[in-house]
Symmetry: none
Subunit: 421 residues, 2 copies
């Protein structure tokens, strides 16, 4: 039975000032669900001694060690070899893996480089985990009191492999005490306001038969509330977090945009589908980010007609039909111009909903009356056009992101509030 | 003399799926500059046993242990106590700290809660580090072969304290050996191809007077090579990594797009400025991401005229002037349509450079001849239009990103190769 896990990320780049291990978050999420507690996490470089010491230390303290990274074909990929050596398992080449890697290269018309053979070495008794998205197979090694799972470092290779490993190896060995989490997403409130408002709920949740814990997290343009509950049955834990999420929704009203993990762009997409609407976007300072976020959602071609990134003023005139004199009188960054952009793109595209965003992302271009971070947003829906001016703080990318978030949130609120026929 | 360090982040919230230790990046940056190598990093929760084990393990392997977090006033703040106990140093209350914390509370008109007295406990012989932004003082503990630095968790408290500690304690004990790093970015090659090609360089660098180490990292749409060198003088280390970067550029040619940390969108922007060109973008499957990446760069309004996200076919016709019959004959995802988009947007915007991207981001919309991930890219520069079809693997966002990367790289290569008048 697996109760406690350690996660070890391997790679010298993860010890530099510019890279951080994020794989452990995805791994923790999966282990949490199975009721396996993550007791510690560590990062070591591509260094035989450090890696061996870390593996030895972890195996002395937990039932399950999950390693990620260091399964590549090159000399500095040591995980397979070092783990096998610490566990006293000889390695041998697996012919099936060799032919699978050869086939991957062949599909791209390349012969397999000789060094990739290293990826076919398997410790005695280990189970091989197929890699749908890369050459490095994963490994599951079981040895008396310990289980060790080796996963490749690239997230797109790691995640599907982890999911299949949860099913085949981890779930059957987990205790069944279930931890359930739920993420509630909120706009338009600060972290401390939200926290104060929810204090009475926290106090009550702590005293329940299945207690619910809450962590509040502020990120750019939204607040997230992570609620979690642990119970012997998955159903009980799930019911407790579901009920907690519902209560948050009741207290915070429309400031909650998602009780079920959906992103804001997804929520807006769903509202467009419900209304039977298509959308067109006119962006200036967000530079395409807003349309890109809308089109990140699978199936968004059902409701996204087009986007126009009118970066230069001339483009606002020629592509969106904004009048030159309006820009001259009001300034390119103004609510009237945002309105003209929203209505112009909507009309040009022949759809029901239009968004216009114009602002100053910085670092240059600000003035005393319109400092960097000033953004005008307009949303046109059937029967109503709304506009608002925001002032965001942060660097260029942060202003772009917050402006896209504000535009999506305005669209959401207007679609929710629209008079139904 | 301090050569090797470990960083230990303390806090149960850092073992959840939603929080990550980022303090270690700031700490690594400072240690790097002093030539102190970070041998490993770890995260433990607010748990006496785990914390003690981690401290003991670290002290067995490095000269310097930097802990962050767990210095607060509450019961679950254990770092001070556990470190003192592992090092065998009795704790006693420091009256000066008590009065400083009392003064902080008094300034806000509050009496100091009794629990804050815990923050005034100091291990025997330790130096107290003032905290300008919070109640928790830091501690510097020296003991024969080991130094231990305890820092508070909140970044705005940690950073200034770290800076002053570098000056007073770390710099005088560092070897003066300097570590310099450089990141080289590469497209159009696989990780193993790149690695094989560079093996002769690696071998030579390892034997140099100032050896250069290289780590190769594959990420979506590019390969990164991190080169680093350690030398007694900062100049020597810098010269070694500069020379290594130059040699990589020589071996890999135009596949290297950046020797100096610039991103691909920045390199393309610089080439546009050099050529005196403006650019217009027509995107379908990338949904605005390509234009958004170009406009992430400060000053991009100098060369980005506009972007058109022609998601629906009707938008390709009305906004870009692509002929309906071309779409009917060739299919919306085809090089002729990409060419018509690139040339259409360029002409409409009256600029010199145009990009057209059309493809199938998935998960739906694929066919046997044009599976999900098929993307046609066209780039029109003065005197030349080029097009190419790619097949990317991955989910929707990954296909979008790789397509934007391929379009930027094609633009870069065509601008580099263009005949000069």
């Amino acid at each position: 039975m697996i109760h406690r896990a350690a996660i070890l990320a391997v790679g010298s780049e993860l010890l530099t000032p510019s890279r951080i291990d994020t794989n452990s978050l995805a791994i923790t999420e999966q282990l949490d669900r199975l009721g396996i507690a993550v007791a510690c996490k560590a990062v070591v470089g591509d260094d035989r001694d450090e890696l061996a010491a870390a593996v030895r230390t972890a195996l002395g303290r937990v039932d399950l060690l999950v390693c990620c990274g260091g399964l590549g074909p090159t000399d500095d990929d040591l995980t397979r070899e070092v783990v096998a050596s610490v566990m006293g398992k000889p390695l041998s080449e697996d012919a099936r893996i060799v032919s699978r890697i050869e086939a991957r290269f062949a599909a791209r018309g390349i012969a397999m480089p000789a060094i990739n053979r290293r990826q076919a070495m398997v410790p005695q008794g280990a189970s091989v985990l197929d890699n749908a998205n890369g050459t490095a197979p994963g490994l599951w090694i079981e040895d008396g009191a310990h289980c060790v799972l080796l996963l490749p470092g690239p997230p797109r290779e790691l995640k599907p492999m982890l999911a299949s490993c949860v099913e085949s190896f981890l779930a059957p060995r987990a205790s069944g005490v279930s931890l359930q989490r739920r993420v509630v997403r909120i706009t338009n409130r600060t972290e401390s306001q939200t926290d104060e408002t929810l204090q009475p709920l926290y106090a009550r949740w702590a005293r329940q038969a299945v207690p619910v814990a809450a962590t509040i997290l502020a990120s750019l343009g939204q607040i997230e509330l992570h609620v979690s509950a642990r119970a012997a049955s998955r159903t009980d834990a799930q019911r407790a977090v579901d009920e907690a999420a519902r209560e948050i929704g009741e207290v915070l009203g429309d400031d909650v945009f998602s009780l079920d993990g959906r992103l804001l762009e997804e929520v807006v997409g769903d509202l467009l589908v419900t209304g039977g609407f298509r959308i067109a976007v006119a962006e200036s300072c967000t530079g395409g980010l807003l349309t890109s976020r809308l089109t990140d959602i699978a199936g968004s071609s059902r409701y996204v007609e087009c986007g126009v990134v009118a970066y230069a003023n001339a483009a606002k005139v020629s592509l969106l039909g904004v009048s030159e004199s309006l820009i001259a009188v009001e300034g390119a960054v103004s609510e009237p111009v945002a309105v003209a952009m929203a209505e112009g793109v909507r009309k040009g595209a022949g759809v029901e909903v239009g968004i216009g965003v114009t602002g100053i992302a910085g670092p240059g271009g600000g003035s005393a009356t319109k400092p960097v971070g000033t953004v005008a947003v307009a949303v046109a829906i059937p029967g109503e056009t709304g506009s608002r001016t925001f002032r965001f703080v942060g660097d260029r990318e942060q202003v772009k992101y917050q402006a896209s978030q504000a535009a999506l949130d305005m669209t959401r609120r207007m679609l929710l509030a629209r008079p139904r026929s």
